[in-house]
Point group: none
Chain length 142, copies 2
């Protein structure tokens, strides 16, 4: 599973080194797409196919559903690890995520999120202020 946060550098070719611990789960390829709050999602293909089939099931008679489906598929980009364990993030994805140079690669258990580092740190600080909320969500679960 994908756990932990890693700060990596995006080079001028748009390449991002995937943390070594995450690579095994991405050997068969991955799909990178836009996530919530200006981050990027990075799914193993096996996970993506499930998402894709649910998108395919959307009713084509509904205009909103049609456009949602279009946006979702258009934003998705297949990718593979190179021999050094990196992926190329397209110009478009980088722009969406506001990725400049240093990014946070965050394991989200079943998938991976990629954040511009300043944005991630701001989010982290914000969450820290709300410590009680998190604690209340976790109580009685372990």
């Amino acid at each position: 599973m994908f756990l932990g946060r890693f700060d990596h550098v995006l080079d001028d070719k748009g390449r991002l080194a995937i943390p070594a611990r995450f690579r095994a789960g991405l050997q068969d390829g991955m799909v990178i797409t836009r996530g919530t709050d200006r981050c990027l999602y990075l799914f193993p293909v096996s996970t993506w196919t499930g998402i894709a089939s649910r998108l395919d099931a959307l009713p084509m008679g509904d205009p909103n559903a049609r456009n949602l489906r279009r946006a979702a598929f258009a934003a998705a980009e297949p990718a593979d690890l190179d021999k050094q364990g990196r992926v190329v993030l397209s110009e478009r994805l980088r722009k969406y995520g506001g990725l400049e140079s240093t990014v946070a690669v965050v394991g989200m258990n079943s998938y991976i999120e990629v954040w511009d580092l300043p944005a991630w740190e701001a989010l982290e600080a914000q969450v820290e202020e709300q410590g009680d909320v998190i604690a209340s969500h976790m109580s009685g679960q372990f």
Copy 2:
């Protein structure tokens, strides 16, 4: 399958370069036809035959079904990739899609859509206005 968005130029001969990643799925030929919302659909032949047989199965006693069938078959045009991986879009199809010079070629998983770029961008902006609709549709799915 077909994923991602690519901005390509339509030359004065009406030729459109198919993104290299899409070509493998179209080697055996394709069928281009009118899509919803003024875009073009581009199906691999194998996918098209399924659609065609469903159209064939429509009840010929029903006037609506008859006309749907007529419109669907009349709009469809077979095409092949040339040696450079391009297809020629007929005058009629270009006019229907309002294709001027730059178009968006969008992978829709099982088929491909072709949009006039300004129209596509308008659609994208519209979807974005609806907030994280995409994310909410994907959330709870992985």
